[in-house]
């Protein structure tokens, strides 16, 4: 039988048995849609975070104060140490080969107020290198001064929300802002970038790191962000930093260095595992749909005994009948998959409309594997009924 | 016992509904043996279905044991069926997954008669139709004649007043058919009213009252 005839034969069959066709297609479409949707969401989330990470550059090291030799490993959560990590430490790291730029960070919370309006905000003291490393840009006005690490100037950058809440309807540039009893001049407003890996910059204040030392009356750094120039091997730089700090801190190696890569890798692994589990769970529904296909096909073969006997009597071989039945399932499943995939795309489109930041999409391999799994289901579960059909003898055509 | 007065029935069909029963009048007394004959499409099966309360008349009256069945709802008709009527069909209408005894017991199960009593009643009736040793056979293991005898046993197990047989010998060969008719007649002699629809002249002639349906009109011979 030619493929065209095969399709034509099966098409009229599927149309004739509308109820059966609809039910089966509904089930398969549901299963396919569910699996592809789940996998798409998982992948989109993973890619979103991966993008965020990669925007921060790939040659990034983060130094946290504190070290744990405990069996659990992990990063020192509190970041408090007995000996401060200082700007001088940061400056000395800058001298190491392989280091491109160093951004020391002091982090705290304070009360920012303008006249009667006030708000509790996160305050970051850092340098231009920090803004570069975190891909933060200025929407209005100027950025931090070049000497942020050495001179304590009373200038600040404020986040977009803060500008709105404390200054609207006036332009914040050049105006004065009070933070915890100290007065500052607003030099610039950060561009609306919203969240960057958990740090909501819209309500933040950034000042020169030297100024923040004075503001919080402390020399203790929260983090040091280091970007590498690639000229020296990353591992070497890391061990160099450990050695340097150990020397500067009287033999205590009380820092932990985390690479951007390792963080991203860890997160990636988690997401992949989650997506796989969820995808597999969704696929179970396709197995159930397959069982239904087998069940309904077996009944259908029984009901069509006379018709099949007739086909045989007219000269169809076992192979032809087998192919015919399996292709019936394949056509049904392919159509249903198309519907399921289409439905998923509609859902994703709607999701993108409401939450544009996550930019949901379906990876190509998901499409392909969904179709393959569906096909496999069709063939696997219609094999038995098809075999039964193929073994019907032509004599059946004579029965009433 | 049964009284049909000016009964009319129509079947919907395209533009013009078919008038299948036209002004039918018929009185049946207890113990009557009536054959209903006529060409196919004449309405004889329809008539039987009406009397059997399987279908509703559109016009007229149907009195059964003093009850005006034409005024009854389906639930009440079902009750009457179980009470007074026994059916025998051309294609036996036995449930293939149940044994002969279980098939026969079905009306008793519906009447909520406990198992012990049921078994006794079924055994009695199996003897009457001569199938005691086939009690646990399935329909697939019985011959046509035996199947109809099981059907008859089922029809009489609740001791109905009337037996309605629609072409009882239609699927049987001549000798088996004769056996069945003789069995039915013996039941009639014991007091059961017997109505037989048949196209077989030989069988139809054996009845004490003969009714003929032509084109929806009933005439008694």
């Amino acid at each position: 039988m030619t493929i065209n005839d095969n399709i034509a034969f099966n098409a009229q069959l599927l149309i004739r048995h509308r109820w059966r066709t609809t039910l089966l297609m509904l089930c398969v479409a549901m299963g396919v849609s569910a699996v592809v949707l789940l996998v798409s969401v998982g992948e989109s989330a993973r890619l979103y975070v991966a993008r965020e990470f990669s925007m921060l550059g790939s040659n990034l090291l983060i130094i946290l104060p504190g070290k744990k030799q405990t069996s659990g490993g992990g990063i020192p959560f509190y970041g408090t140490t007995t000996r401060d990590l200082t700007l001088q430490d940061a400056a000395s790291i800058r001298q190491l080969s392989g280091v491109d730029s160093v951004a020391p960070v002091i982090a705290g919370t304070a009360n920012a107020s303008v006249g009667a309006r006030s708000k509790n905000v996160m305050v970051l003291g850092s340098t231009l290198d920090f803004l570069k490393a975190r891909q933060l840009s200025i929407a209005m006005g100027a950025s931090l001064p070049d000497d942020a690490e050495s001179v304590s100037r009373n200038v600040v950058l404020i986040g977009s929300n803060l500008a709105q809440e404390l200054f609207a309807p006036h332009n914040p540039l050049g105006k004065m802002l009070t933070i915890d009893d100290y007065r500052f001049r607003v030099a610039g407003v950060l561009a609306i970038r919203g969240e960057s890996l958990g740090l909501d910059m819209r309500d933040a204040v950034i000042l020169p790191v030297k100024t923040s030392e004075r503001l919080f009356n402390s020399f203790s750094l929260f983090r040091i962000l280091i970007s590498l120039n690639g000229l020296t091997d990353e591992k070497t730089v890391i061990s160099d930093i450990y050695a340097l700090i150990k020397k500067r801190h009287q033999g205590e190696e009380d820092i932990t260095i985390v690479t951007q890569q390792s963080m991203m890798q860890a997160f990636n692994n988690i997401m992949v595992t989650l997506t796989t589990i969820v995808g597999l769970l969704g696929s179970v529904s396709l197995v159930v749909a397959g069982i239904l296909i087998m069940n309904l096909s077996l009944i259908s073969v029984q009901q069509r005994r006379t018709e099949i006997g007739l086909l045989k009597a007219l000269g169809a071989s076992q192979h032809v009948v087998l192919t015919l039945f399996i292709s019936e399932s394949i056509i049904l499943v392919m159509l249903a998959s198309a519907i399921g995939l289409g439905f998923t795309q509609v859902l994703l489109l709607l999701a993108n409309y409401w939450w544009p930041t996550l930019s949901f999409s379906t990876p190509l391999w998901a499409y392909l594997s969904a179709v393959c799994v569906a096909l496999l289901t069709a063939v696997l579960f219609s094999y038995l009924p098809a075999k039964q059909a193929a073994s019907i003898s032509p004599v059946e055509a004579l029965r009433k | 016992m049964i009284s049909l007065k000016r009964v009319n029935k129509w079947y919907p069909s395209g533009d013009k509904p078919l008038h299948v029963l036209k002004q039918v009048d018929l009185d049946i007394a207890q113990g009557d043996y009536i054959s209903i004959m006529g060409p196919s499409g004449s309405g004889k099966s329809t008539l039987l279905n009406m009397i059997g309360l399987l279908d509703i008349i559109d016009e007229g009256e149907y009195w059964l044991e003093g009850t005006p069945t034409h005024l009854l709802k389906e639930e009440q008709r079902a009750e009457l069926r179980g009470l007074y009527l026994g059916f025998i069909f051309q294609n036996f209408q036995l449930i293939n997954r149940l044994s002969a005894a279980e098939n026969i017991a079905l009306p008793l199960v519906l009447a909520e008669i406990p198992k012990k009593e049921r078994n006794i009643m079924v055994a009695n009736v199996l003897e009457k139709v001569g199938l005691q040793d086939r009690a646990h056979h399935r329909p697939g293991q019985l011959s046509g004649g035996q199947l109809q005898r099981v059907a008859i046993a089922r029809a009489i197990v609740t001791q109905p007043k009337v037996i309605l047989a629609d072409e009882p010998t239609g699927n049987l060969d001549q000798s088996a058919g004769l056996d069945i008719v003789q069995l039915l007649e013996s039941l009639n002699q014991q007091g059961l009213t017997l109505l037989v629809v048949t196209h077989d002249r030989v069988i139809g002639k054996r009845a004490t009252r003969k009714v003929r349906m032509v084109d929806g009109v009933l005439s008694e011979q």
């Binding site: 549901m30 509190y78 140490t81 769970l281 309904l296 | -």
Partner: protein, 398 residues
């Protein structure tokens, strides 16, 4: 129809079509397995997380510096408007407060002779033992010293103690932390892990010592114990009042155990719900299976339906019988699904004892209940349709 006859009838009817009903049962069983498995795992996860969090006792309220942070992470950041030892001390004056734990934590190097260990150091008060349910294995916990002028005592976690001293009882020995001498007064019993932090590797010193060691004036958190008969909301209000009087403004956040558990609960419930939703897809397909098979079966048994009506069976009984068939199939599927889960649980737990419960009493009853419900739902339409067939039409079918 009598009950025993009904059961017999339904059983016969379902078993008569063994192959198709077997497949239907199988499909439905997979669906029920999926849903109950995910429900049970969700339950177990919830239990595990909640028990981890409540291991510290329930009448605790946490105060952190800065505003609006439910998880108290802002304690780590620098601030000029912190919460002080003075605040902690003053809270003791409230009648309802039964214990105050000022908290400051970080990492430090602990030295004993030539052994050093960098680990987590937590500055607390003597109330910490009661508040955080810390069991002492040797010696005692920190003594009841003045918050602002405590003696230099330290209590070691069990693992930390073992690493520095082995099996030797170290009570009374001195260790150096960041150059300062501390005397060991106690060793804790093993406690395990909490959110990835090894509690047995920690060392506990008085908060005042911690503050000076970490160069801070502000505590990271103050945990308060209060009498169990009081409502958490009421306590939170009292504490808020008190601290506002001291600070002048509300530059702190108060979190009750209830609030934290509520937030957690919300998150965990969402996860559990999502899991069940995914499982439900399989269940839905399985249900469609029951519906379709029943519809086909009843269609093929039309003349049986007609016969029963001819024999005088009421429509309502007919509906009940076919509904019962559907429920029977669904129940079989549900039972098979649950039994398979139980078997898997038993076999797997011999290799992996920490396996969370795959089957709980709750999830099993959920499974059975859902089976019955879906059976009735899926069987309703076919049953009704079958019962409405006019008897003669049904009988005429071949």
């Amino acid at each position: 129809m009598r009950a025993s006859d009904t059961l017999s009838w339904v059983k016969h009817a379902v078993l008569a079509q063994r192959s198709r009903n077997f497949l239907t049962v199988l499909g439905f069983a997979i669906g029920i397995s999926a849903v109950t498995l995910l429900a049970a795992v969700g339950d177990s996860l919830k239990q595990y997380v909640l028990s981890e969090f409540t291991q510290f006792g329930s009448n605790i309220i946490g105060v952190t510096p800065g505003k609006s942070d439910t998880m108290g992470i802002t304690g780590i950041l620098r601030t000029n408007r912190g919460i002080t030892l003075g605040d902690a001390q003053s809270l003791l004056t409230l009648n309802e407060v039964t214990g105050v734990v000022p908290v400051v934590a970080g990492t430090a190097e602990i030295k004993y002779r030539n052994l050093t260990r960098a680990t987590e150091l937590v500055g607390v008060s003597h109330f910490a033992a009661k508040a955080w349910k810390l069991e002492v294995a040797q010696g005692q916990f920190l003594p009841e010293d003045h918050f602002t002028h405590p003696r230099a005592f330290v209590v070691l976690g069990s693992k930390l103690h073992h690493e520095l001293f082995g099996d030797y009882t170290a009570l009374g020995e001195s260790i150096r932390i960041a150059g300062h001498r501390f005397t060991i007064v106690g060793v804790l019993a093993p406690k395990g892990q909490f959110l990835g932090m090894d509690l047995d590797e920690m060392a506990y010193i008085p908060a005042a010592k911690g503050l000076s060691m970490f160069n801070r004036t502000s505590l990271m958190e103050i945990d308060l114990l209060y009498s169990p008969s009081l409502e958490s909301a009421y306590m939170a209000g009292k504490i808020r009042e008190h601290l506002i009087r001291r600070h002048g403004v509300e530059d702190f956040t108060i979190v009750t155990q209830d609030q934290m558990l509520d937030t957690l609960d919300g998150i965990l419930n969402t996860i559990r719900f999502a899991g069940i939703a995914i499982g439900s897809i399989s269940l839905l397909v399985g249900s469609v299976g029951i519906y379709s098979i029943l519809t086909i079966s009843l269609w093929q048994r039309r003349n049986e339906v007609g016969l029963l009506r001819a024999l005088g069976m009421q429509q309502s009984l007919l509906i009940r019988l076919f509904l019962a068939e559907a429920i029977f199939i669904a129940l079989m599927g549900g039972s098979v699904g649950l039994i398979v889960l139980a078997l898997v649980q038993v076999t797997l737990s011999t290799f992996m004892p920490q396996l969370p419960a795959l089957l709980t009493l709750y999830s099993a009853s959920l499974g059975i209940g859902v089976s019955i419900f879906i059976g009735a739902l899926a069987g309703a339409e076919p049953a009704f349709k079958a019962s409405r067939l006019p008897p003669i039409a049904a009988l005429r079918a071949q």
